[in-house]
Amino acid sequence: MEKHKRGMTRRDLVKRTATAATTFAIPTLIPSGVLAYRGRPGANDRIVYAHIGVGGMGHSHVVPDAAAICDANIARAHEVAKNQVQGNPLVCQEFRRILDRKDIDAVTIGAPDHWHAIMTVMACQAGKDVYSEKPVCKTIQEGQAMVNAKQKFNRVVQIGAQGRSNPNARAAAEFIRNGQIGRVTHVKVWHPLNMSGDGWGEEREPPSELDWNIWLGPARWRPYNPVYVDFAFRWMMDFGAGFIRDRGNHVLSIVSWCMGTDEKGPVSVEATGKQQPNSVFDAPVGMSVTWQFRNPDWTLTWDQPGEPETFPGQHEKIEWGAKYFGDRDTLIVSGGDGGCDTEQKAKDYHPQANQGIHLYWDSQVTANDPTERHRQNWRRCIKTRERTAMPIEIGYKVITLPIIANISYLLGRKLRWDPEGARFLNDEEANRLLVQPYRAPWHL
């Protein structure tokens, strides 16, 4: 019962009260203006949003009527509140203040990567719906916790893998899934090196506007160094773990869509990487990874930098993307995020109605920009409680690929993976790395 109470949002409560009021015909309990009718949303249809982590992509999610803005950097939180929000939102560094607010229905999470899982889990437990930026999480256990929390507390959780709201990505996926290039045996992903530079930064006291303890959160303690924060946290294994888990989340999401492996996984992974010897950053600047899939058998490779491909008839090398090798044809898909593109032959292909594979597409959202479509899809699903374009269950399956690749890199050996059990076979040390103990007081 306690779980049920905490899982109920202000909006749920108002709706239930409204339903009860209608059923029992006690009109004086609910003012008529509060109730909705077709064509005119009532006050109880308004979703109250708050935003946690508003640097980078985080600030792009901010709505003008946000109830709260939270960031470990309080100066940034105030700046976003001042420039992007009307009214007088709560501005804070501690996200639990947002979770404690019963009037807030939904949160976006744009904090650094090591925060995504625990914030999502705690938000679900507090009865909030969640839009969490990619990458989904750092460890397999975190992914399991996010799925469990979403399901147990009946939340709508969208992962910010915006390629799933991109029509070109969907066209590519339907083209491949409907056999237009034949049986696919190899998918090659290429991506530039990490953008981490040489140098060591300088360990020092954090600036007064930054709460370093909050920024670190569940990650093990280390002294503040200005090079860690903002975009560059991606190049630290404790926080971001390189492009393979960052943009890799995007491109591997599209690979999973195209190959129909949203509910499957590889049976082995082998990764190597190369660091920068004169840099504070410890994520490999480039990696080569091979995942093997079975039934059907196919191979997925990640090469960083790899050999960029070019769309037919064009000369410009594509910065990052994937090439699908079928036994009849090939297909190139660039990127994997909102800017994803593909070859014209896939865009021209449309499976016949009632035949072939038709993939998820939210025809009720109106935006043309895929990133905005993705947000609109989440907002719509909050109202309808439908599945989103990128639900956490699929997000967890996708992020498993780079997570186990990073473990293979760290351990320096090929690993066999049980996709159903979500464990490595015959490697106890590798299995210990499926879990990362958290610094207190944070726990899943």
């Binding site: 306690e2 779980k3 905490r6 889990v121 705690m122 679900c124 437990q125 256990q141 399991q144 916790a145 996010m146 799925v147 469990n148 929390a149 147990k152 060591w200 093990r220 303690w221 280390r222 002294p223 190369k274 660091q275 920068q276 010897p277 004169n278 504070v280 410890d282 760290l410 351990l411 320096g412 050996r413 979500a422 015959n426 490697d427 106890e428 040390e429 210990r432 790395l433 879990v435 103990p437 958290y438 610094r439 207190a440 007081p441 726990h443 899943l444």
Partner: protein
């Protein structure tokens, strides 16, 4: 030069010379192939990891990581000896991050033999949190018993660290199907 560096074998001395090279590519090639150097290289690498030259310290830290994971391969028996050397570093007066790195590796490759040494570090405010996390990660009954005993003692001492230990005990109860489903205690 430290005793550890002076007493190293010719093979390890040659390896350490590469770790100390002013050329970053040479340092990286050395750390990437450090696995076979084994436990004998850990102590001198700990000295280098604690040094002031950041490039050499990084190379030494990465070399310890490579050696530890190499030692923990299934079917090999080197993990215990490497863990012993890592525990010495964790218990030393070296900089906190050097000790923290050693404890993180111990959590990955250590076994129940190292529980008493880790328990001692629970009383060291500088690394007690990292020692707790290492104990949390090592499978088996002994780490669990040690965490329970430490939590009980910390409770009796009215230590704020008791909550951290309780967190580890809680985490040890989690399974893939229960993690994320339990509401936080008020």
């Amino acid at each position: 030069m430290s005793v550890a560096l002076q007493q190293a074998s010719p093979e390890i001395t040659e390896f350490l010379d590469k770790i100390k090279s002013p050329n970053g590519d040479i340092r990286m090639a050395a750390w990437q192939s450090a696995g076979p150097m084994g436990s004998a290289a850990i102590e001198p690498l700990g000295e280098l990891a604690a040094g002031n030259d950041k490039g050499i310290a990084k190379a030494a830290t990465e070399a310890m990581r490579v050696i530890a994971h190499h030692a923990a391969r299934t079917g090999f028996r080197e993990a215990g000896m490497v863990s012993s050397e890592l525990l010495k570093i964790a218990a030393s007066d070296k900089p906190i991050m050097v000790r923290s790195d050693a404890l993180q590796l111990l959590g990955c490759i250590g076994n129940t033999r190292f529980v008493p040494g880790l328990v001692k570090l629970l009383a060291d405010p500088k690394v007690q949190e990292e020692a707790r996390m290492a104990l949390e990660r090592i499978p088996g009954i002994a780490p669990l018993d040690a965490l329970q005993a430490a939590a009980k003692q910390a409770e009796a001492d009215h230590s704020g660290f008791a909550q951290n230990l309780e967190q580890s005990l809680y985490n040890r109860t989690l399974t893939p199907t229960t993690v994320g489903t339990q509401l936080p205690k008020k």
